[in-house]
């Protein structure tokens, strides 16, 4: 993974010092709350329902064991012994004290971490595929390009006060696991006819209040022009994006209102004026790539016989193998999903003890690296099959081996009304209730791949509009109600879910979900997935049953 040099370290250290001064000026009354807000936001600090919330960047979701131990330490020293992983592959602490945040940032900087631009109307953490570098359908590892983008976006002097937040995702594989079609800019690694690496650039995707699927603005961009092309898009957005209404300020609205033809012409014109002289050199790309060279794999890894044996003899292990592993490009290795969706915990939460233990396991089994997935789980990318049984046993003790990845209980869930000041309704409680009802794993496995996403408000942090089943909390005369959507997807066949019908009262949500699942189980054809069935029949058969008694 990328390692800071002195230059990177200086930048992060100077940022901490700057924020320490800003916090002090605020505490001294030299900055008003309104003046301090954009400054603290750009350092990840929100003021929440109960306390400030600090969001720390997980650069394209990739962390190491030392960084995990620091997160554990921060959870213990400054928080209530846990943290939360987000859909942007970031980490959140819910209980830090404002005056202690500079100290937290200083501790993070010591392990090459920061909270720069994790909120505010600026360019956010670049996200990518959690299986980057190891998956079998990869064209090229996206992480070097993510790092190049990370550096370019960090403290960009011209684009730090944008009309609204701006998110970039990069995918290097055939299967899009980074929801790139729902980002302000989606970057797809592609090859041209000559076999050269370049990028297909999408623009104007987004979730939130107005979910829109991104459109291709550049089918093939030579890789050396990556940063000048991003600059052209950002300059047009910065100059012409709406600033009169925050709900219409994302680039997707500019694109919609100006039309793709006009928008792309503006970007092209700008790009032509700046493209020469800003090229990424091959040397620079190769230098960054060198940080992401694969580890030295064991050439005999595929000789292992025990993995097969344990699958045959241990049913629980076999279930975990079936659901929580991904194939690896090297024979004898697997990528392991660590489920943060145990029945009795808030989705995406981890305790300090678990963080420390996972750091140790990463050192022992996966070259000391840990990835955060955009579905709020973790991945060990490089585990030998020989080690899987032992790793599983230890994860199981830690309650991190729930064999439910990709199933209906692997829900994305925002902090909701329990923590977030924006929320209209709770989301963690809903996920727990659904989890409790779906305790029969045979039934869960029979349902197959089904993604439920739960957001406590229409800002949509949990991406409910692209959930196979989306649950959106809404306020109805001071009480919590929920709007259901069906058929959304953030993958290759991107789709925004269709509304099922009127919002449902809180105590009816779980029943509605089980009703939807029953309709699927009873009416599916052959091995049709839930998403395929919704595409075939629409929402009507589900609607009829859910609202039958209303």
């Amino acid at each position: 993974m990328y390692q800071y040099n002195e230059y990177d370290q200086t930048l992060v250290d100077e940022r901490v010092a700057q924020f320490r001064r800003q916090t002090q000026r605020f505490l001294n009354g030299e900055l008003t709350a309104d003046q301090f807000r954009p400054l603290r936001l750009r350092n990840g600090l929100y003021i929440q329902t109960h306390a400030p919330m600090l969001r720390i960047a997980g650069p394209y979701g990739l962390l190491n064991s030392k960084q995990f131990r620091t997160l554990a330490h921060i959870a213990r020293k400054y928080d209530k012994n846990y943290c939360h992983f987000t859909t942007r592959q970031n980490i959140q602490f819910n209980w830090p004290k404002l005056e202690e945040v500079p100290d937290i940032l200083e501790e993070l900087a010591r392990v090459q971490m920061h909270a720069i631009q994790t909120s505010g109307n600026c360019m956010r953490n670049t996200s990518t595929d959690h299986l980057a570098g190891v998956c079998i359908d990869e064209i090229e590892d996206p992480r070097p390009y993510c790092e190049i983008i990370r550096q370019w976006t960090t403290l960009h002097p011209e684009f730090d006060y944008l009309p609204r937040k701006f998110k970039i995702a990069v995918s290097g594989s055939l299967r899009d696991r980074a929801a790139t079609q729902f980002h302000d800019i989606g970057v797809h690694i592609v090859k041209n006819d000559a076999g050269e690496t370049g990028f297909k650039i999408l623009v104007g995707g987004g979730l939130g209040r107005t979910p829109i699927i991104g459109q291709v603005i550049k089918p093939y961009l030579e890789r050396r022009h990556l940063l000048s092309y991003l600059e052209a898009i950002l300059r047009i957005y910065n100059l012409f994006g709406r600033r009169d209404n925050m709900y219409k300020a994302r680039i997707k609205i500019l694109l919609k209102e100006s039309g793709m033809e006009k928008f792309s012409a503006m970007v092209e014109k700008e790009w032509q004026l700046i493209r020469d002289g800003r090229e990424l050199s091959d040397d620079r790309i190769e230098a960054i790539k060198a940080y992401f060279n694969p580890p030295v794999y064991d050439p005999d890894a595929a000789q292992d016989q025990t993995f097969e044996h344990y699958q045959l003899t241990d049913k629980a292990f076999s279930a975990w193998v079936k659901h929580n592993l991904a194939n690896h490009k090297i024979p004898g290795y697997r990528a392991v999903f660590i489920s943060l969706k145990a029945p009795d915990t808030a989705p995406g939460d981890m305790t300090d003890t678990q963080l420390d233990a996972v750091a140790d396991l990463a050192d022992q089994y996966s070259y000391g690296e840990i990835r955060i997935t955009h579905r709020q789980n973790l991945v060990f990318a490089d585990v030998k099959e020989l080690d899987l049984y032992s790793l599983w046993q230890q994860l199981d003790v830690l309650k991190l081996a729930t064999p439910n990845i990709g199933t209906v209980t692997d829900m994305i869930c925002c902090p909701g009304l329990d923590f977030c000041s924006l929320a209209n309704a709770g989301s963690i409680g809903i996920s727990k209730e659904i989890h409790q009802v779906l305790d029969d794993m045979d039934y869960v496995y029979d349902i197959g791949e089904l993604k439920i996403n739960i957001s406590g408000c229409m800002n949509g942090c949990a991406h409910q509009s692209v959930g196979h089943i989306g649950i959106l909390g809404v306020d109805k005369n001071g009480s919590e109600w929920y709007q259901l959507t069906l058929g959304g997807s953030s993958e290759n066949e991107a789709a925004i879910g269709d509304r099922l019908g009127p919002a449902i009262a809180k105590d009816q949500v779980t029943k509605a979900i089980t009703t939807i699942l029953d309709v699927y189980v009873n009416q599916r054809q052959d091995d049709e997935s839930f998403l395929e069935m919704v595409k075939r029949v629409g929402v009507t058969p589900f609607k009829e049953q859910v609202y039958a008694n209303h």
Binding site: Y7, L11, Q22, L39, P157, F159, D160, N238, R243
Partner: protein, 150 residues
């Protein structure tokens, strides 16, 4: 009134003339619309001439006039309006304006490092007591990741 120019505190010699006010002697700046309307008179003005740019203005509209202008003020209606950062970049990077670019209005000392990077070389802080913090903030960072103007 004092301002910062090229990292030094100096006395301000400029006055902004509102659109409805009569011109006066000395170094004056006017709005883009006033410049367009009274250009012929302003060119003959005894003293230097500048323009006060608002975020909604278009730098391209004054590109041909830059040779007549010794000052361009970037007038921040709020610290959140980032368009002026691009205007500064365009003035320096595209139209090669070499005169003074000065930030004025509602912005924070915490933004001057970025402003200096996109080509702003003078700062009129909202509060006079902020002069020292503006000066110090120009050195917030000794390293940068991107190419810009500075």
């Amino acid at each position: 009134m004092q301002i910062i120019k090229d990292k030094e505190i100096i006395n301000n010699s400029w006055s902004y003339i509102a659109d409805d006010d009569a011109l006066k002697t000395g170094d004056i700046s006017v709005s883009v619309s006033r410049w367009k309307k009274d250009k012929d008179i302003l060119i003959k003005h005894q003293g230097k001439i500048g323009i006060r740019l608002r975020p909604e203005d278009t730098t391209g509209d004054i590109a041909d006039d830059l040779g007549n202008l010794q000052l361009i003020e970037l007038d921040f209606p709020s610290l959140a309006d980032g368009r002026l950062f691009s205007h500064a970049w365009l003035l320096r990077g595209r139209y090669h304006y070499a005169g003074e670019i000065r930030a004025t209005g509602h912005y924070l000392p915490d933004q001057v490092f970025y402003l200096s990077r996109v080509g702003v070389n003078a700062f009129s802080p909202e509060k006079p007591e902020d002069l020292p913090v503006v000066l110090a903030s120009l050195n917030d960072f000794s390293v940068t990741y991107q190419c810009s103007i500075n």
